[in-house]
Structures are given as structure tokens and as C-alpha cells.
Amino acid sequence: MIGTGILKGMAVTARNFVGSYFEKDRLITVQYPEERIPLAENYRNFPFLPYDGDDPHAGLRCVACKICEKECPPQCIYIIKSEDKKPDYMGKPQFYPAVFDIDISVCMSCQICVEVCPFEAIKMDKVFELSRRERFDALLQRKSELSKSNTYYHSICPTEAAEVDAKLAGAAAVAAAKKKAAAAAASAPSGAGASAAVSVPGSTSASGAAPPAPAPPSDSV
């Protein structure tokens, strides 16, 4: 009979309409500004720069190596390396970004900067209500806006932040142990101390810093 198909379809809409009063999964609309769904932990939006401690300058993990700037597919990161150095979390003197800008009107939230960063210095933020009245300046985030504390990072991604902290603490402990061993080795033959002291500040690379210190004593022995 003609019309039965339409009636069948209408039975479905009726079931959905009535069901929406009783079944949770038939009425899934969330009244957004008033109601909010908690964001997933993996949710990502735009990058930010976490810093340890309270001081955004002293605690900034970024060492201005510019890997993220180079790898960023839409090229939205702009970094100028500093002239001077500041100690990083391991106490090693490192450069820091004098300028670190991210143009979030260009950023496509792909997370590649986070993946390539060897210093855990850039992470993805979860702030999404970022509408602005201007197109250019307001969407260009400067270092001051990008720097956010590690506590904030813990509040948005607790599991990941804990993993990162453990990793950094491990690296710092290894570096401290190495330093101690190097200091012990350097203090034993006292004549080589002067040459070792010169080589430490001059070496800038992360991996090359530890080996040169014990090298002169081993030569002299």
C-alpha cells in the first residue's frame, strides 16, 4: 500500500521525539555556554610555553633551539635567540628566546612542535574561546602571553604533565650525578682544574657539556 513507508518513517521520528524525554542518548544537545562538556585530556588547541616555578623568565624551559620554528608546517612560530644565557632546570647555562611569537591565526593545531621539541618546552593548550575583535595583533601571541606555569599544565593535562615532570627530574638527577662525578674527578688532580673551568662555560651543546670536563684529567693521568 502506498504510504506505509512514510508512516514507518514517521514512527521512527515519533519514537525519537518521545524517547528524547526519557533516554539520555537520544537527547544529546548540550546548551553550550551554560553547560560544558569536560574536555578530553588529549584535546589540543594552540601551543603554549610551560615554565617551572613562579618566574616566567627564570623557569622557561625553551632554549631557543628553533627546531619547532623549522618544523612547523604553516610556519607560524617566530623566535629570536637571546644574547646572554640563563641557567635551565639542570643548572646548565642555556640561551632563551628573546622573542617567541606564535601567530594563532596561522597555527593549525597539528602538535608537531610538541612532538619535535627535545626539551618539553612547548605543549598544547586547551583554551578555545579566543575570538578577538582584531585580526592581526590580537591573534599574534607574544612570549608573555604564551608562557604559562607548570601548575597550569598540570591542571589541564594531569597524566601527561606528571610524565613530563618525572622525565625532567630524571634528566636533572642524571646531570647532577654527572656534574658531581666530574667535580670529584676535577678536584682530585688539582693542576688540571684551571683548564676544566675554562671549557665548561664555553661548551653550549646539551650532550657535549659533560664529557669535556673529565677529559683533561684523564690525559694527565
Binding site: 502506498i2 512514510i6 518513517g9 521512527v12 525519537n16 588529549n42 608537531i112 619535535v116
Partner: protein
Amino acid sequence: MSATIQTLDPVAEQSTRLPPQMTSRLDGELLEVSMGPQHPSTHGVFRMNVALEGEIVRKLKPVFGYLHRNHEKIGENTSYLGSMPYTDRLDYFCSMTNNWAYALSVEKLAGIEVPERAEYLRVILAELTRLQNHASLLGFLLSDMGAWGTPLMYAFREREKILDLFESLSGSRMMCDYMRFGGCRVDAGSDWMERAKKIVDFFPRFLDEFENLIVENEILIARTQEVGKLSAELAINAGITGPMLRACGVNYDIRKVDGYGFYPRFKFRVPLGEHGDTYDRLMMRVLEMRESVGILKQAFEQIPAGPVMNPKVKLRAFRPPAGEAYGRIEGPKGELGFYLISDGGPNPYRYRVRPPSFINLTVLEDLCLGHTVADVMVILGSVDIVMGEVDR
């Protein structure tokens, strides 16, 4: 209405059908209408220049390129890793399958092994993508037909559940950027698996309801059956792939033909159509969703524990050996392939996408000739295009 369409022979009747004074624009006898690029039913910025005789389509010229973003040239100028997020933006409904196709071709190029768990995760995500793509296609198609709102909302309700899964796994609903050559970016936890299982178990209820809603509907049958018929010969000659080809009765599914990933480990059937009309194309999607649910259930049972990323792969400064590779998968819309030529440098020397929706769109004129303007919308909807992929 349908009777006149079926008896209409475009060539023979063109000169005799209408008195000349009724159609006196542009071409003498035909009225030229530009549909799109802002037309709500053209699925994005797609334009069709249609020559009409009365209401009957006599000529149709697709015009595209409004969403051209130079994808292939960008791919040749960024690193292999940097192209991955751009592939999300090809067919923005199915970023997971786009990622897979690109990862597959880079893996072929460099000879990278993928861990077992990652392969299973890829199958799971690709089939979830197929579910949400086909569900939203059905919604859009019915919306084009005039079933305004309701079916689309039902389809989007299910799609949103799957997108929530994608979001909690990869961080983004649509621009997932999840797969990497050599595996997947993050592992799915057990709670994610439980949620996914629940959604997949629940999906057949949606399919049953949706079938009740549309399959026997007389209006839908009148609008789709015998509309936009595509013959198997033309489909094969034009390089049509995916559900559109299988609706013509050609048994060609790259999951079976190539057996990429772990698809040979799964039991599933390839649904085939008979007539190649819009109704078959529509039903093909419903049937494929049922098979996808079956694959997903098997994958949830079989998935092993283990790493999801090959530890030997260096994502940064990745330089595959010189050579060429073509990796293809059965995307929800058809054969999606990436052809890469490497000269050993950090960027591909040549980067080419074989987009299924673009190639499926080439037969649009053949499908639409002799039908009314209203049918053009339905036929276009059944081709399943996404302009991000057509224009690239």
C-alpha cells in the same frame, strides 16, 4: 514526472521538445544556469554550469577550484612529517583514512614496519571513519532531497559520538593528525576501547532506525530509483572507485584486492549493487556500514597489546631513500592514493594525491543528462564529494 524522464532521449528529443520562444536565452534554445558555488546543496564551493531545456538538464559543466590550496605543491615543500597534518584537510570528513593513505605510501617508500597494535588501531579508526562518513553522507543526501533537518540530525548525532572518540584519542574532532609513518602517535587506553566498543555495539540500532526511516519511503524511492544511472562499463572506464563503483555491481574493494594493513585477517563481505542508480548508491552506504560494524567487532576482539610506534623511525629529519611509491587505501569515498617520489632529500620530489571524490565527479554530466534540476542535487549528493579533496 518520472515517466517523462525515462522515455526521454536527450539527442533525439532536444530539437522537438519545446517551442523556441519559451527558451530564448544565451544558447538560442537552452537556458544556462549557474548552480553554486554558494548553493546550499553543492557540498561546498562547487559550481555547475547547467544548460536547461525547461527543467531538463541538457548540458552540465562542473566548475571547481574555488577551494584550491595548492596541497601538492605544499607537500613538495614541507618535510614528510609536515605533510601529515595537511592531509587531514583534504577530505575533512575522513582525516583518519587520509592519514593512513599518506602514512602507507611513506612506509612503502622507506620500507618501514608497523607494529601489530598500530595496524589494528588503524583498522579500527578507518572503519569508524567509514561509519561517520557514510552516516553523514546519508543525512546530507536526504537533506538535499528535501527531508530537511531530521535525518541529518539523526546522522549527525551518531557521527558526533564517533568524533568524540577521535577527539579523546587524537586531540581533535576532525583534524586528527593521528597516524605517523611507522605507527600511530598515541596509544588508545582501555577506557577508550570500552567507549568505542559501546558506541559500535549501539550503532546497529541507529542503522535499523535509519533504514526504517528511509528505505521504504515512497518519496525517496520516487526520487532516487532510476535516477542517475551509471553503467558498469562507464564506471570502470572513468576510473570510478568506492561505493559508487560497487553500486554498479563491480566487485572491487581495495581492502580485498590489495589486502593492505590487516584487512586479510578480517571476515567481511563486499556489498554490491545491481542498477547503479542513486538508490543503489544510497543503500550501498547502509550495507557498508553494517560490514564495518562487523570488522570493528572483530578488531576489538583481536587487538593485541604492545607498542604503537616503530621505535626505529625518526620523524624529524626523515629522509627516505630515493625511489617512488604509491600507497592506496579504500577510503570511505573510494580509492585514495598518494604517489611520492623521493630524491633522498627531506621533502618529496613529487607528491601527488589521487582523490576519489574528484575522479568520481568526472561522470557527473553523464549521470545528470536527461534529468531535472532537482535530480541533479540528489545525484551530486549520492556521488559523495568533499570539496577539500576535489580542489586540494
